[in-house]
């Protein structure tokens, strides 16, 4: 029997970005994450910062961009706790919070390492970077290369 399903229904979805320079022009963002930095792009021509990072300034269309650091700690504004229907690949309870990064940016981010009822409005959180599923990339002569990947969330200080 020729099989592509291998006994499993085709449900897989890659929930993380293609991060490497083979696939992504903003790959330095992920290199910075590995250094514990949260960064984005700023336009050298009009001075405006955008998030998420870009290859083109959405304000003036310039491609003359530079990397800028964002705060790695923030204040919790709103907490949500998901106990039902958490997508596969994420822990239950799945906690999210709207966090204020020192007035620079508001993110609705995943909060790791918290139990239900543990995180409160006004709490301080800090960036956490962790490995996620490596990306299987086809190499030459049937070799599959696993590209390491990281992603970020926040955790309670």
């Amino acid at each position: 029997m020729n099989s592509a399903l291998e006994g499993k229904y085709a449900v897989t979805m890659d929930m993380y970005p293609l991060e490497s320079s083979d696939f992504n022009r903003i790959h330095p963002f992920y290199d910075h994450l590995k250094e514990g930095r949260l960064t984005t792009t700023r336009c050298r021509d009009c001075g405006k910062k955008s998030f998420p990072p870009r290859v083109m300034c959405p304000h003036c269309m310039s491609e003359n961009l530079e990397w800028a650091d964002l705060p790695v700690t923030g204040t919790v504004l709103v907490v949500t706790e998901e106990e039902v229907g958490v997508p596969v690949g994420f822990e239950t309870p799945l906690i999210h919070a709207l966090i204020d990064l020192s007035g620079e940016l508001s993110l609705f981010a995943r909060i790791r390492g918290c139990k239900t009822g543990e995180l409160k409005e006004g709490d301080q959180v800090k960036l956490t970077v962790f490995p996620v599923d490596p990306l299987p990339v086809d190499g030459k002569k049937g070799v599959v290369i696993l590209q390491e990947r990281v992603f970020f969330a926040f955790e309670k200080l």
Binding site: M13, P52, T80
Partner: protein, 390 residues
């Protein structure tokens, strides 16, 4: 430019269906033609097919010619698919309208639907990760919307004193409205106590505060006014004004979670084009994906002042006999929410209300409104329908 009328509409049974995507598209097409025997598939010169998850859940792209073939339609002027997640159906109606106004097509079917339940039941909690910004929001475990709307509700409660009881009243009303809807997913009444004591999904969003996941399809036929006069014996219903607005996509760029600026813009544009005001609307179908959504929509559509949405439901102003009955067929909370079909279902209900043959009729309704939000509350779509042109 030509005037556009909606001359027929129908839908499949909605719910957890033992049927393929193409099965339920056929059911919707059939129901649509049955609604108006004066128009046949041979009259259709354009088809717009809406589906958000056709590739993800049915492994099928190039969907419009497939659906056309199954419905016996051989369009000569337009054959295309559209997608704007939860607003896919109403986006199809807007584009069909533009094509007819401009003379690109005369009689266009807009048919949308989703087959979301796959043999792997857990997959639905996972597939929806494709609905928001994949690289930045999905990777945070967002996608299924309850956390987002829970965060909206918490902020609205804090700012304006909106209560869980007021939110529950929205689901009680919409369940009651959907009781006799023969095609809806839920046809059981619930009381306030049941709604308030239901299990938590993401607090303060509880079971009945959230619309379900739904398989289903719906179809309407739009025609240029001069054609419509010959293709229906029923009262003409005009599409008077349409608008869509989007000011952000990713969560970090959503600047105000409790005043939906893009909804206010879309509403203003649609009212202006239709030459009406919020006070002229006799009946509305708004996007009650969550109870808090409907409450904010009362405000940002201009049915009441900002922050008074909770009192609007509490005082019965969105119920039959009130200022503007909202979600008269049960809304998303009762009917369910197959993304590609929802805006079309809303359009069908407004068409019936304005023709005077709705299941639960708003007496004398002349002007109706439909609204959808989509994605991370990232785009808003508003359409105004009327029995008259002025």
């Amino acid at each position: 430019m030509r005037n556009v009328c909606v001359i027929a509409g129908g839908q499949s049974i909605w719910g957890v269906r033992k049927a393929t995507q193409r099965d339920i598209f056929q059911e919707a097409g059939k129901a649509c033609f049955q609604d108006n025997p004066a128009v046949s598939n041979k009259d259709i010169d354009g088809i717009i097919v809406g589906s958000a998850y056709t590739e993800r859940c049915s492994f099928q792209t190039h969907l419009a010619p497939l659906v056309a073939e199954y419905l016996g339609i051989q369009p000569k002027n337009l054959c295309v698919r559209v997608e704007l997640l939860c607003a896919t159906g109403s986006s199809g109606i807007i584009l069909a309208c533009a094509m007819i106004k401009s003379g690109q097509a005369d009689v266009v079917m807009v048919v949308g639907g989703e087959k979301l339940y796959t043999p792997q039941r857990w997959e639905i909690n996972y597939s929806e990760l494709a609905s928001v910004d994949h690289d930045w929001d999905s990777s945070m475990g967002l996608g299924l919307p309850p956390p987002v709307f829970a965060a909206v509700a918490k902020q609205h409660m804090k700012l304006y004193g909106t209560t869980e009881e007021q939110m529950a009243m929205v689901s009680v009303k919409n369940r009651r409205n959907g009781l006799n809807n023969p095609k809806g997913q839920f046809r059981e009444e619930i009381n306030l106590e049941t709604a308030i004591n239901a299990k938590a999904i993401v607090p303060p969003m509880k079971l009945y505060d959230c619309c379900p996941v739904t398989d289903g399809a719906a179809a309407v036929i739009l025609a240029a006014e001069e054609k419509a006069k010959y293709l229906t014996d029923k009262p003409l219903v005009y599409i008077r004004g349409t608008a869509q607005a989007s000011l952000h996509n990713m969560s970090a760029n959503f600047s105000n979670w409790t005043t939906w600026e893009s909804l206010r813009i879309a509403a203003r544009q649609a009212y202006t084009k239709a030459r009406v005001t919020a006070g002229d609307i006799n009946v509305a179908q708004t996007h009650d994906c969550f109870t808090i959504s409907e409450i904010i929509e009362y405000e940002d559509l201009g049915f009441c002042e900002k922050g008074e949405g909770g009192y609007f439901i509490q005082e019965g102003k969105s119920d039959f006999g009130g200022q503007v009955p909202v979600n008269t067929d049960g809304g998303l909370l009762s009917c369910g929410h197959p993304f590609g079909a929802t805006g079309i279902r809303q359009g069908i209900e407004i068409m019936r209300q304005l023709r005077g043959d709705a299941v639960k009729q708003v007496e004398g309704a002349r002007i109706g409104l439909t609204h959808n939000l989509s994605g991370f509350i990232a785009a808003h779509t508003v359409l105004i329908y009327g029995r008259d042109l002025e």
